[in-house]
């Protein structure tokens, strides 16, 4: 049972293979994303994060989820040597770079706690898979060509993993490198990370992307993570264990 809805400004898809799947289960997942949006969206004036940024909430009034997310943001900042930073020059907070992966992860955990075994939760290209697909095979995930959204340039097969891609449009937006004050990172257009879960994959993909060409080395040095980086010339660099997830690697 599969459904896509537009929440948090992006398409979110939930696919449950288990025969016991119900619309109610899907609804709960989508409701959770709506809850997250209402709490963490900087575009919603009444959200908790907006109220914090307007100085309307003291720290001891923060919700548990807010405390957790802010603590995780700080942890990610430390682990990425400062490349991941949610504080802007005026001191305002925007944790959306972390909230997406965190929310997908929690949504997947919600399904797991309801006893589902084979499913995925995907929000605009960041994915948590569990178990197997409808054919009883590992989930097959394609990596989109950053130069042409209608094409794929890689496909990986995963069970119980998170996959996240941080990227930019070839001629479009650039992620800011907060450590070196550059608006245009060195021509890396797409960086996909496979990790133990989507929360981990997403936050490290975001941080690694901000590191530009060194980002793939950062991923290489993380145990349990693999990455695939594409630069503006159409050259890709993959981590040493990436091919364990590809057909090429399996056949080699």
């Amino acid at each position: 049972m599969k459904q896509t809805r537009w929440i948090m400004g992006m398409p979110i898809t939930v696919d449950i293979v288990d025969a016991s799947a119900t619309l109610d289960a899907l609804d709960r997942v989508f409701s959770y994303f709506e809850y997250v949006d209402q709490k963490f969206s900087t575009f919603i004036d009444s959200s908790e994060i907006s109220r914090i940024n307007r100085g309307l909430l003291r720290e001891d009034q923060y919700s548990d989820d807010m405390r957790q997310v802010l603590a995780l943001c700080e942890q990610t900042k430390q682990e990425s040597n400062g490349y991941f930073d949610i504080v802007d020059p005026t001191g305002k907070l925007d944790p959306s770079g972390l909230v997406k992966g965190w929310a997908i992860q929690n949504a997947a955990d919600l399904l797991k706690s309801h006893g589902f075994r084979d499913f995925y939760v995907e929000a605009s290209g960041d994915i948590q898979v569990h178990g197997h697909n409808a054919h009883g095979q590992p989930w097959r995930i394609g990596i989109r060509n950053p130069f042409n959204p209608d094409e794929l340039i890689q496909s990986v097969e995963v069970c119980n993993r998170g996959v996240a891609t941080s990227g930019t449009y070839y001629q479009g937006h650039h992620i800011y490198d907060p450590r070196h004050g550059r608006t245009s990172v060195r021509n890396i257009v797409s960086l996909t990370v496979i990790g133990p879960n989507v929360y981990q994959a997403d936050r490290f993909a975001t941080a690694a992307f901000a590191m530009s060409g060194n980002g793939i080395a950062f991923i290489e040095n993380l145990d349990g993570f693999e990455g695939y980086m594409v630069d503006g010339h159409g050259l890709a660099v993959k981590t040493s264990g990436f091919d364990q997830y590809t057909r090429t690697g399996v056949l080699a």
């Binding site: 400004g9 992006m10 398409p11 898809t13 575009f43 930073d85 949610i86 504080v87 802007d88 020059p89 925007d94 944790p95 959306s96 770079g97 997406k100 995925y120 929000a123 605009s124 290209g125 994915i127 898979v129 697909n133 989930w139 097959r140 995930i141 394609g142 990596i143 989109r144 060509n145 950053p146 130069f147 042409n148 959204p149 794929l152 340039i153 496909s155 996240a164 891609t165 930019t168 449009y169 937006h173 650039h174 907060p178 060195r186 021509n187 890396i188 797409s190 530009s212 060409g213 060194n214 793939i216 080395a217 290489e220 010339h233 159409g234 050259l235 890709a236 660099v237 993959k238 040493s240």
Partner: protein, 160 residues
Amino acid sequence: MKRILLSVFLIAVFAAYVAFHHESATTVYALPSLAGEKKIVPDGDSNGVRLDAVPGRPDAIPPRSFADGEYTGDAGVVYYGNVRVKALIQDGVLVALQFLEYPHHHPTSMVINTRAMPLLQAETIRTQDADVDIVSGATFTSLAFSDSLTSALSKAAKPR
């Protein structure tokens, strides 16, 4: 003029890989034929980024025809040091790169160079005809979120 352009071009293309360099500054890298043929320089050079020769997207790979010879590029500046490469062209094809200068004294690049780089592999991307369940990557429909994330990280910049 042609040599200058070529040098600049080569630095641009391989700057990302330079940070991945591992040992001495004179290791020669094996490169794929850009025409998608087999690797020309024999194996045994396991310290650098390995480049698998695969046919790339025609619009994504560099021009194929160069004048034969050795070309030394101008020093390119990466944020932690300088990079200078020499390129060997045979039969109009780039077959090897020599790193004449690269940053290996800065603590950051030291860590990166010694720990990760020997293991990374490079390839030109190619379109796959794959039957997949899910797709990962930026999409036009995810523009809104991407904008948000981009602005989030932009805002994360501190005045220097």
